[in-house]
């Protein structure tokens, strides 16, 4: 499935209206905001259609996985081109099996849970809470951001060079890039060697002003704890979808379609093929840079990207001290 899908579901008492744009969306937040009501309304409509008294408007079929017990995997295997809603209380959503089974399906999944689903690569931007106003409910992103910097008190300007230490999720080309940038300004740059280690590495460096850099497209399971830790500290989170997204966004790549792809990524990223948007950006960048002077490989950074001009192009949109 591709694209942004709008869903309106209502009965005489409540109405929910929202858009879903990625293959995995998480709904969490306070109790009594209507999360279970939403899933139950989808389930009622699934069972009885309009005879249920529910009105549902969506360009895709909406289904709810309720009370399936051990038959959940069969249900998914038989569900195509649909938006699947799952309420909390379904323990299988945390399992490796669930991740494996939904990986190459042609569906979008909306999962109600406060648990961090470490097996799933969901985005920091696809974690929502229901905001209610009277009988109306809408989805609001849980984590605020400004220019891909996430935090509670967002500033208008952010400086890269003012940080004592930079911690990068990966240890490949993205890390090599930021290590070089940090070396140039005399700052320390450490690889956490995996997003699952970021909290641990951050803890060891908590006294410093830190910049955490990770792939936002799959950082959803980690954000709650690291976001919480960043409160009241000198830590900032820079979470572009991925390093490849950063390159595509820089304007360095001369390809007429890049702008359009980045403006409407969900129109190009098929959930059947890409479990996470970062995988799409990697494939796309590799494809359009092949054989060019700016050819991209994930394992080793092409020195082309490390020129002063190109560093500014990559970071200028986000950090004032590179926006010259």
């Amino acid at each position: 499935m591709k694209g942004i899908h709008e869903i309106i579901v209502q009965n005489r008492k409540v109405k929910f209206e929202f858009k879903i744009e990625r293959n995995i969306s998480i709904i969490k937040g306070d109790s009594a905001t209507g999360k279970t009501t939403l899933v139950n309304m989808i389930a009622d409509y699934q069972a009885q259609g309009e005879m249920s008294g529910i009105q549902l408007i969506s360009d895709k079929e909406c289904v709810a996985m309720v009370g399936l017990g051990n038959r959940w995997a069969d249900f998914i295997k038989n569900t195509k081109d649909s938006i699947v809603f799952i309420d909390e209380g379904e323990k299988y959503v945390s399992s490796k099996d669930f991740a494996k089974i939904i990986k190459n399906t042609d569906n979008y999944y909306v999962i109600v849970t406060r648990n961090n689903l470490y097996e799933l690569p969901y985005s920091v931007d696809s974690i929502y809470e229901i905001k209610k106003s009277g009988r109306y409910g809408r989805l609001k992103k849980t984590y605020n951001s400004f220019k891909k910097i996430y935090g509670e008190n967002l500033k208008k300007e952010h400086n890269y060079k003012s940080k004592d230490i930079v911690i990068v999720e990966d240890n490949k080309s993205g890390f090599q890039f930021f290590k070089e940038v940090s070396n140039q300004v005399g700052k320390t740059c450490i690889s956490a060697v995996g997003k699952g280690n970021i909290l641990k590495v951050s803890r060891e460096n908590l006294k410093n002003d830190m910049l955490i850099i990770a792939d936002g497209a799959a950082f959803g399971p980690e954000i709650e704890n690291i976001y919480g830790l960043s409160k009241g500290s000198g830590m900032e989170l820079f979470l572009p979808d991925s390093f490849e997204w950063l390159i595509l966004n820089s304007g360095i790549i001369k390809n007429k379609n890049v702008k359009e792809v980045l403006a409407n990524p969900s129109d190009y990223i098929d959930s059947n093929k890409y479990f996470s948007w970062e995988q799409f950006y990697t494939d796309y960048l590799k494809k359009i840079s092949a054989g060019k002077k700016y050819q991209y490989t994930k394992s080793k950074i092409n020195p082309f990207y490390l020129s002063d001009t190109n560093i500014k192009k990559l970071l200028g949109d986000f950090f004032s001290d590179y926006n010259t």
Binding site: D30, S31, A32, D87, S94, N115, E224, L229
Partner: protein, 266 residues
């Protein structure tokens, strides 16, 4: 008389059959035979004193089930491990009595025990007879008691979280949904009620939003209970929580983030 504690070369041994008998005597026998009850109280106090000294030295306390050489036993590494054992058996009046007295003893020693007990992730707790209840919605549907709604704290929780008024044990007045049965309450309130009314069981409190955190704190200050979390619930103000998995007491959200990161990855 009850021989409920023995010290031997810095090792502390306690006898379950003895301390249960002593507590039963105190509960049932105070009016019938105050002198025996006083002996029992003194022996329990002596047991607490020995336990306190032993755990302060970071040594283990061995609990024998019976006063026999071949009796089964459990070694407790900390006062919290011993308290967990008591919490899981507090349906017995005698155990509940000992639990209250133990809390009071530590409070009087200026070492109050952390009131919130948290089991993180899928760890299984041997002290408890059964696994934590993950799907609290389903459990509530099948097991709630309309009598629960007579409690003031339940009425207050329903009003605070769901903005709804309890009419009686079968009827709730919701500003959005109108008149509803208890099964239509929010998942958070249902879980709070389960924790409050079944303190000897463990429920998945990650079905509660952060707006329930203050109620978890309130319930925990009143009842001895253990909650199961899969995320870092945002506790308000100062709090002290015992993390079962690491056998540690924490007092900040930062510490909770680390513990969740460590134990909730499955």
């Amino acid at each position: 008389m009850y021989n409920i504690v023995k010290k031997d070369q810095n090792k502390c041994f306690i006898y379950k059959s003895g301390f249960i008998d002593a507590a039963t005597c105190i509960i049932k026998g105070k009016e019938a035979d105050p002198e025996i009850a006083m002996v029992a109280e003194n022996e329990l106090e002596e047991m607490f004193e020995n336990i306190f000294e032993t755990f302060t030295k970071k040594e283990q306390v061995r609990m024998y089930f019976l006063k026999r050489a071949d009796s089964d036993f459990i070694d407790f590494e900390s006062i919290y491990k011993f308290r967990l054992w008591l919490i899981s058996r507090q349906a017995s009046d005698s155990v509940a009595y000992i639990l209250d007295k133990l809390n009071l003893f530590y409070k009087n020693k200026n070492k109050p025990l952390a009131q919130i007990n948290i089991l993180l992730g899928d760890d299984y707790l041997e002290e408890f007879y059964q696994k934590p209840i993950f799907n609290t919605e389903m459990y509530f549907y099948n097991c709630y008691d309309k009598e629960w709604f007579k409690e003031d704290i339940v009425k207050k929780m329903v009003l605070d979280i769901d903005k709804s008024r309890v009419i009686n044990g079968e009827t709730i007045e919701s500003p959005v949904l109108g008149t509803i049965p208890p099964t239509k309450l929010s998942g958070g309130v249902k879980t709070l009620m389960l924790i409050y009314n079944n303190p000897d069981m463990i429920f998945n409190a990650s079905t509660c939003g952060d707006n329930c955190a203050k109620w978890i704190q309130s319930i925990s200050s009143d009842k001895n209970c253990v909650i199961n979390l899969y995320h870092a619930m945002k506790f308000k103000n100062k709090f002290r929580a015992y993390i079962v998995n690491s056998d540690k007491v924490i007092s900040s959200m930062k510490d909770l983030y680390y513990e969740v990161d460590k134990y909730c990855r499955g």
